[in-house]
């Protein structure tokens, strides 16, 4: 049987100052995780999430850092959390950006920024995260992918490539570390009502079988499950939270 989560375990959620990441941080704290709330520029937002978690009786710490920066940011975030809260035994790679445009007109910079943040940074964070997880014989990595990637979305060649890559990485890394009690899964949100998707056209809503956008809390619930002891035998999978879009 797999080991249960150690009492002192910390979950690090990237891009957690608002939207889906914030909802995930709160949901994991409700499940008893101490939570590292990563932010890039929105320190106030991250501190609000930390305060909300602490008011509810949980433990959390806002940890700033641009995860797309190759120069040791991942190490710094983990080191700080390990010193102040405990071993990081869950990682949620949530931070993501968009830089939309038709492929025919897309600049290299827009391609590279999206791949760097949404895929390469998630790889670096995952590589660092696995060290304490393997040692503890327990770990949970959840990558926030998207229905875009498995499905087409005109204007998002960069984002689709990054998210499809994230799902591929999820599957392969899952097989590498499964026997150490470390699971690696993805969630694939559809259209979720956040700042990133504020202008969803009616035609898009019509194409969603559930006829509505999802909420950050609905995505967080899926992450919460995948991070739980109950999901110890779920690894390499992608859980779609999309109102039936990909069905």
């Amino acid at each position: 049987m797999s080991k249960p989560r150690p009492d002192s375990a910390v979950a690090l959620v990237t891009g957690a100052s608002k939207g889906i990441g914030a909802a995930i941080a709160i949901a994991l704290a409700e499940d008893g995780w101490a939570v590292g709330v990563n932010y890039n520029s929105d320190r106030e937002g991250a501190e609000r999430i930390v305060a909300a978690i602490e008011e509810a009786g949980g433990r959390a710490l806002a940890v700033g850092g641009d995860i797309s920066d190759a120069n040791g940011v991942a190490n710094g975030l983990f080191d700080r959390l390990e010193e102040e809260l405990g071993p990081v035994l869950a990682l949620v790679n949530n931070a993501g950006i968009t830089a939309d445009g038709l492929a025919i007109q897309m600049e290299d910079d827009d391609w590279n920024r999206v791949i760097d943040t949404n895929l390469t940074a998630a790889f670096r964070m995952t590589r660092r995260a696995m060290r304490p997880m393997i040692k503890a014989r327990f770990g949970r990595i959840v990558n926030v992918a998207s229905v875009v990637g498995p499905r087409a979305n005109a204007g998002q060649a960069n984002y689709a490539a990054a998210k499809a890559g994230l799902i591929g990485m999820t599957k392969t890394v899952a097989t590498e570390v499964a026997r150490r009690g470390v699971t690696v899964n993805a969630v694939a949100p559809g259209f979720i009502a956040t700042d990133m998707t504020e202008d969803v056209p009616d035609a898009v809503i019509d194409a969603i079988p559930a006829k509505r956008t999802g909420t950050p809390e609905e995505v967080a619930a899926a992450v919460r499950f995948l991070a739980s002891d109950s999901a110890a035998y779920v690894t390499g999978s992608t859980l779609f939270v999309d109102g039936g879009m990909s069905a």
Partner: protein, 83 residues
């Protein structure tokens, strides 16, 4: 954690202790034993590298670790890398 001083004896003890966690019986872990015989695979060797780095501050590259075949090779690699 303070790093340990590297001697062949200390490294051998660390390697034996680490490998024993991965499944082989302690008396099977001889210097001439191959990882194949011990059923020690690439993930085990990656974890061994991590333990060596934590204890001795010696960083082993995946390429180097991929070439070693026996317990003795692992000890030699760490000792030579430190020297």
């Amino acid at each position: 954690m303070a790093e340990k001083t590297i001697t062949p004896e200390a490294v051998e003890a660390t390697v034996r202790e680490a490998l024993a966690q991965f499944g082989p019986e302690p008396d099977e872990i001889k210097l001439e034993a191959t990882f194949e015989e011990l059923d020690v695979d690439s993930l085990d060797l990656a974890e061994l590298s991590q333990i060596i780095e934590d204890e001795y501050g010696v960083k082993l590259k995946g390429d180097d670790v991929g070439k070693i075949k026996t317990v003795g090779d692992a000890v030699d690699l760490v000792v030579n890398r430190a020297g």
